[in-house]
Subunit: 319 residues, 2 copies
């Protein structure tokens, strides 16, 4: 059966903040079956997630980036991002029609995945399926891997999270509280700050846009210094954090959102603090830790059930 | 007995490259004995080492630096650095008169050390004593800890070292060769480059001052990318290295010499590569690894005896 397939394509490499005009909607047709002999699957996409990292893939590629783990989008091609989908046809023995999956898919109604081993089968459907675009999907797994595998956290440590109300930050903060850390987050509006302090149980939070001296703001919130910084923003915030880190601190570098729309990213000062304070600063990506996914889902699902981890926003069930 | 004690004092905090006038020689007197009941030792200094990190301690202290592991020098006080010395008097049961030691001492003829547990006793005197200011002292131990403990090296990996002909870099390169890595170093003169390729057995080396595009120079030397960067210089070199790192690369941050004389250190771009390539960048200091000192001396001494590690410069024996 052939049906129409509405798709969102990248028009050209993006400069500055992404605008509606940088993308174009196109309607094509797709046959609702995988070719005979294929090991692929055909997905009906149910939820698509718009995540900050997507912006970095819309830039003109840097030297060598084409071959990296993060190849940039090609103009004219469909946007690829994380989503939740239902299997409509399958040539792969591990997937059957009707299975729910999450993973990289297209911003379109139907997507053919030639190597479905990159997809995760959704085992638990007693939570809204949309959770698998966030809390139980890539962003949750990013928080889990970043906090437990990269930050080497210990009870009682001082944890700072930037972009803390974002999909990753809000979960990191809740994991850190579960571990018995002191947790402060920053965000860009008073509404978000309020959310951190009330809904997500952060010990404290501040609106970075209201601070003219970020280093002083951090000093105020962490007079004894920061053991763990969960880095989501980069730039001036990273500079200020470096001055406030404690000896043997750890910085998990998840993203650098403040830089994504800049044509020329800012230079970061104070890196010499890495030496004087013997700091470990480590970039990571969730997929290097995907062997931890089952452990992550089991524990996080349990936390959700027990109300120990809370989710932001409305989620609706579709089928 | 009271004798004269010639000392080198820091006159004031230094701006720009340190000049002779930033220091002042002063002659005082010292009693050649420790007070009754003291657990200290009195040292006759034999060799003093002038190391690049000293420059960083001559700056006006940054906020919080006073309480850090690297407190800056106070104007008017004697310069403190690494040296080799002989015990002249002792109140400490672990040290006897005539012992040779190395560790932090003053730039002066005689130094009273109130807590001699910070000193290392010199066990082997079948090598020139001056080796304990370098190869078998702080800089050698820095190379050892930095390479084996921080870089997580594996046979066959691609290793790049900046300031490679320096006291630390030249040893790191030789350890890396012993491990079976491919090793390239950079230095600031053709004489030094030649030394790296001939005396120290680096696979290749280049004069960074002759390269107008550092990223291109690194690409030429490491077409397949860099697994391990031993960072001694910071600034523009670090920016170029980040572009040339491989996935899961490691950067051991030992120092950032290029920045020490600047009033305002340069900002470093390309840090987003930490995320895309999942790089670990880690500052370290030898003293966090001093439990490895005996192991380091035993193995490195053996390497020297077997001609597997070579030393630069003339060393003379004094008593």
């Amino acid at each position: 059966m052939e049906v129409t397939n509405k798709r969102i394509l990248l028009k050209d490499h993006v400069v500055g903040p992404a605008k509606e005009g940088d993308m174009v909607a196109s309607t094509e047709t797709v046959r609702l079956e995988v070719p005979v002999g294929s090991k692929g699957v055909l997905l009906k996409n149910l939820y698509l997630s718009c995540d900050p990292y997507l912006r970095t893939l819309m830039n003109r590629p840097l030297d060598g980036q084409e071959e990296s783990g993060f190849p940039p989008f090609k103009p004219g091609s469909v946007i690829i991002g994380f989503g939740v989908a239902k299997v409509v046809d399958t040539g792969h023995p591990d997937f059957k029609v009707g299975d729910y999956v999450w993973g990289l898919t297209g911003w379109e109604e139907f997507t053919k995945i030639s190597n479905p081993e990159t997809l995760f089968k959704i085992k638990y459907t007693d939570v809204p399926l949309s959770y698998y675009t966030g809390l139980l999907g890539m962003t949750g797994m990013t928080a889990y891997a970043g906090f437990y595998e990269i930050c080497s956290p210990k009870k009682g440590e001082f944890v700072y999270i930037s972009a803390a109300s974002g999909a990753v930050g809000q979960i990191v903060g809740q994991y850190a509280k579960l571990m018995g850390c002191y947790v402060v987050g920053s965000a860009g509006s008073n509404e978000k700050v309020n959310l951190l302090k009330t809904k997500f149980g952060f010990d404290d939070a501040f609106n970075y846009k209201e601070e003219h001296d970020l280093a002083a703001a951090l000093k105020r919130h962490f007079p004894q210094g920061i053991d763990i910084y969960f880095e989501n923003v980069g730039g001036a915030m990273l500079e200020a954090v470096l001055l406030n880190m404690r000896d043997h601190g750890r910085i998990a570098v998840c993203g650098m959102i403040s830089q994504y729309n800049l044509e020329k990213p800012e230079g970061v000062h104070n890196l010499f603090c890495l030496v004087t304070k013997r700091i470990r600063m480590q970039g990571f990506a969730w997929f290097d830790h995907s062997h931890k996914y089952d452990e992550f889902v089991e524990t996080t699902r349990q936390h959700i059930k027990e109300g120990k981890i809370r989710v932001r926003g409305r989620h609706c069930q579709r089928s």
